[in-house]
C-alpha cells in the first residue's frame, strides 16, 4: 500500500525499517575514506558547485543578499591563491521577501538561471500556519523569481500519525509549484514556463528516529510524484520553444538535460533534512537513510529525486564525507548515467545547505592549489 493514500495505516504500510546502530556504523565508514590530491580537489570543486549558499535570518538585508549573490556567482572573487576554474555555487537560499533582490542581483551579473534562487516558503521554519497562507507564500516566492522552493512538512501531523495530511500538503505545494511554474517568466526571457524544484524539508531533528526519517522520505517522494501525475493529466504546459503542448508522463524520469521534456518537469525535486533551526540538523546516518529512500524509489520507478542535507555541515572535510556517501550509496545504480550523466554527484540532484561551508572549502582549495592556508579574514564574507 502506498504511503500517503487515504487508507494508509502505518502498521499495514510500513516503510522499510532502519536499524539505527548499523546505519550509524555504515555512515561512519564513509568518513574513513582517504581523499587526497586530485580526487580531493575535484571533490571540493564539486562540493562548491553543489552549495545552496544560505542566509536565513531575521536581520537579512537586501545588501547582504547582494553580497551573497556575488559570492555565489564567483566564490573566489577577490582572493589570490585560488585556481581560475572555480565553479559557481548551485543556488542562493533566502527568505521569500528577499527573492526579488536575488533576482536583480543575479540578473545584473548575467547569472540568472545558472545560479538558482531557492526560497524557503510555506511558513518556514515551523510550518505552523494555515495551508492557504503557506501556499500563498509559495506563489509569491515563485512570482518574485524563485527557481526552487524549500518547504517544511507538517511535523505535528506526522508525529500525531496523520500521514495523509502530511502527504496532502506536500501534494498541494507541489501542485502550486507546477501551476506557478507554467505561468512564470523564463529567466532567459524566452517566454513563460520556468521549472520549479520543490525541496521537502523533513526536519529530521524533530522526527527523531531513523524509521520516521525513512517513512517521511517515502511520503514526500510519493506525494511529489502523485502531484506531478495529477497535474500532467489536465494541465497545459509550455515546452522549451515556448509553445503550448501536453505533458507526456509515460513513466519516464524527468530529464534535466532533455530540452524536449515538459518545462515544468525539467528540474528534479528534492528531499531535504533540516531547516537549520533545529538541533540536530543534517547528520550522516539521517542523510544515508534518505539516500536509501531515493535509491529504492529509483529502483522501483526509474525516477530520480535529489537530496539536500542542510545545517551542521561546516567543514570541507565533512562535505567530502557526504560526497563519499553519495558515491558509495548511489554511484553504482544501473542506468542512472543514461538518464542524468553523473547521477547524484551533480548539483541537479545533490545540494549542501550551508553558509559557513563555502569559505572552508575555499581555504582548502587554496591550500591544495598554492600550499598556503588562508586566514579567516582572507576569505571574503558573504
Amino acid at each position: 500500500m502506498r504511503a500517503g493514500t487515504k487508507a494508509a495505516v502505518r502498521d499495514f504500510a510500513p516503510s522499510p525499517r532502519v536499524d539505527a546502530v548499523m546505519a550509524a556504523e555504515r555512515a561512519a565508514s564513509f568518513t574513513k575514506r582517504s581523499i587526497k590530491t586530485k580526487s580531493k580537489m575535484a571533490g571540493l570543486k564539486l562540493a562548491l558547485s553543489m552549495l545552496d549558499l544560505t542566509t536565513l535570518e531575521g536581520k537579512d538585508s537586501p545588501e547582504k543578499v547582494r553580497a551573497l549573490c556575488a559570492k555565489a556567482v564567483n566564490p573566489g572573487a577577490g582572493q589570490t591563491d585560488l585556481p581560475p576554474d572555480l565553479p559557481s555555487v548551485g543556488a542562493v537560499c533566502v527568505y521569500p521577501n528577499l527573492v526579488k533582490h536575488c533576482r536583480e542581483s543575479l540578473e545584473s551579473m548575467g547569472a540568472l538561471g545558472r545560479v538558482k534562487i531557492a526560497s524557503v516558503a510555506t511558513g518556514f521554519p515551523s510550518g505552523q500556519y494555515p495551508l492557504e497562507i503557506r501556499l500563498d507564500d509559495t506563489r509569491r516566492a515563485i512570482h518574485d523569481g524563485a527557481d526552487e522552493i524549500d518547504m517544511v512538512i507538517n511535523r505535528g501531523a506526522f508525529l500525531a500519525g496523520r500521514y495523509d495530511e502530511v502527504a496532502d500538503e506536500i501534494r498541494s505545494v507541489k501542485r502550486t509549484c507546477l501551476e506557478e511554474g507554467v505561468k512564470a517568466t523564463r529567466h532567459d526571457g524566452g517566454g513563460k514556463g520556468r521549472p520549479i524544484s520543490l525541496k521537502v524539508i523533513l526536519e529530521t531533528g524533530e522526527l527523531e528516529t531513523l524509521d520516521n526519517v525513512r517513512f517521511a522520505s517515502d511520503i514526500a517522494i510519493r506525494a511529489m510524484d502523485e502531484a506531478i501525475a495529477e497535474f500532467g493529466g489536465h494541465a497545459e504546459h509550455v515546452d522549451s520553444h515556448g509553445n503550448n503542448g501536453t505533458a507526456e508522463l509515460n513513466g519516464s524520469a524527468p530529464r534535466h538535460l532533455d530540452t524536449s521534456a515538459p518545462r515544468y518537469l525539467s528540474s528534479f525535486d528534492f528531499i531535504k533534512t533540516s531547516t537549520g533551526k533545529v538541533t540536530p540538523a543534517a547528520t550522516m546516518p539521517v542523510t544515508l537513510v534518505m539516500l536509501e529512500a531515493v535509491r529504492d524509489w529509483y529502483l522501483e520507478t526509474g525516477k530520480l529525486v535529489g537530496v539536500k542535507p542542510a545545517g551542521g555541515i561546516r567543514t570541507a572535510k565533512q562535505s567530502l564525507h557526504y560526497l563519499v556517501m553519495v558515491k558509495e550509496t548511489l554511484g553504482a545504480l544501473p542506468g542512472v548515467n543514461e538518464l542524468h550523466p553523473g547521477g547524484w554527484l551533480t548539483p541537479e540532484l545533490w545540494r549542501f545547505g550551508a553558509s559557513a561551508l563555502a569559505n572552508d572549502i575555499l581555504r582548502q582549495i587554496s591550500w591544495l592549489h598554492s600550499g598556503k592556508y588562508r586566514a579567516n579574514y582572507d576569505v571574503t564574507e558573504a
Binding site: V18, D19, M22, R26, K32, S39, S108, M109, A332, G342
Partner: protein, 537 residues
Amino acid sequence: MSIIDKSDEKAIRSSTARAAKDSPPGWDYSPAPETSKVTIKPSYGLFIDGKFAEPKGAKRFATINPSTEATLSEVVQATPADVNRAVAAARAALPKWAGLPASERAKFIFRIARRIQERGRELAIIETLDSGKPIKESRDVDIPLVAAHFFYNAGWADKLGFVFQGQTSGASSKSKTGKGSLPEIAPGVRPVGVCGQVIPWNFPLLMAAWKIAPALACGNTVVLKPAETTPLTALVLAEIFEEVGLPPGVVNIVTGDGVTGRAIVEHPDVDKIAFTGSTEVGKIIAKSVANPRPDGKFKRLTLELGGKSPHIIFEDAAIDQAVEGIISGIYFNQGEVCCAGSRLFVQESVLDTVIKKLEIRLASLRTGDPMDKNTDVGAVNSKEQLSRIEHYLKLGQTEGAQLRMPGYSGEVSPDNTGSRHGLPSKGYWCRPCFFTGVQPSHTIAREEIFGPVLSVLSFRTPEEAVSRANNTPYGLAAGIWTEKGSKMLSIAKQIKSGVVWCNTYNKFDPASPFGGFKESGFGREGGVQGLKAYVEV
C-alpha cells in the same frame, strides 16, 4: 549593479562548464597508499629464552607479500630440537613467573599492551604486507583488538580469585606448594603450566594475542608458533617482549610449518595445547593428545576450528542494514574468517530485494592493493588458498549454482575467468562474489571455502530457517536479522553455535567469549570464560 565585468562572467561560465565536465560522472578516489616506512629485517631467528637466535645449520624459508609475491623476509624452519629448547626455556621460566605477585605480572602485560599501541602503525603495516589484508582492517580492527586483549587480560591477573572460587584451607594450600607444584595465583588457583599454541594466518597477531594474553595473566608460560605464511608480526611482538623486559622464557616464538607445529603438540613436557586452524588439523591434534604423556598426565586442549556459519535474514529485517551485515559477514578479511557468515539464508519474500541490493552494494567494494587506505578487499593469503577458493568457484558452478560477480560485466565462465579480472597479474586475487540458486546439498553450502564467496539460500518459515541453519557439521557463529525482538531471541536460542550475532555481524570484543560447537571445536577464548583454559582450580 554589476559586481563583475563581462569578461569575468565569460570566464566563469566556461569554467563552470569545465568543472561540470571534469568532475562527474568520474569522481573517484586517488590512490591513497600508506606510506609510513617500516623496517623488516632480511631474516629473523627464533625467539627462545628471551633472545633472538638462529640455530646452527638452520633451514630458512621466505615469507612473501601475497599482493606482489615479493619476498619480505626469511624465517627459520624450527626443528623438533629447537622446539625442545623452547619448551625447556618455558618450563624453566614457569615457577618464577607464576610466583610473581599477580599485580606485577599484570604490569608486564599492561606494558605489552601499551607498546603495541605505540607501535600500532608499524604492526598494522607489517600485518598487511605479510597477510594481504587491507590496511584499513589491520589498522582499525586487528591491531586495536590486539592491544585490547592484552589490556583486558592484564586486568584479570590480580582478580582471578573473584572468578575461580578455589577451595582452600591452610593445610591443603601448604601441601600443594611443595616440590613440583606450581604456586597459587589466587587462593586454590594455579597455572596450567607450559602452553603450546599454534595459530593461523588469517588474523596473525590477533590470534597470538588471544592465545598469549590469557595464558600470561594466569601465570603460564608459552611456546607459540605463528602460521608459516604470516610469521612477521609475532616476531615483532617478540621484540616488544624484549623491550618491556618480559622475563626470558615466559614467551617463546618458534617459526616453521606443520612439522614444527607437530613437535609442539607432541612434546612430552607441554601441559596444554591451544590451536586455531582447520578442522582437519584439529582432528589430528585431538588424536595426538588422546594419549597421555609419559608421566601419565593428559594434555589439556582447546580447539577453535572451521565454520560454515549461517546468516539469516528475515523479511521483517532492516534490509539495507542487513546487507551491510552480509558484507561485513563474508567479505571482511577476504572472507578468510573462521566465523564468516558464508551461508546466507534469506526469507523467500525478500530474496529478490536482498540479492539486488547485495549486487549493487558489492559493486562499490574496492578490491586491490591492500596498502591503499581505500581498499576494502585485499589479496588472498597464499597461492594454496587461492587455488582452494578457485576450486570451489568451479565446483559451485558445476553443481548448478549461479556465480554472480558484480563489477565484472564479462562472462564468468566455468574456468573462473573473471575472478581475477581487473586485478594485478602478480599476487593472489579473488573478486568478491556470491552464488545464487544454492541447494543445501551443494558442496559450496557444506564445506568451508575461506574466501570472499557467499552462498545464498532461501527459506520460507522460521522453522525451516532454523533447521537449515543447523544442518551443518560446524557450529561456530550465526547471524540473525529481524526488527522483531521476540523472534530474534527465540531463533537465537535454537541455533547451535558458539556466537549468535543479532542485527550485526563479526563484532569482536575481548570481554566476549568466542568458540564453537560440534566440528568447530571446543573451549572458549576471550572473556572470563577464556581464562578457564589456563588455570587449574
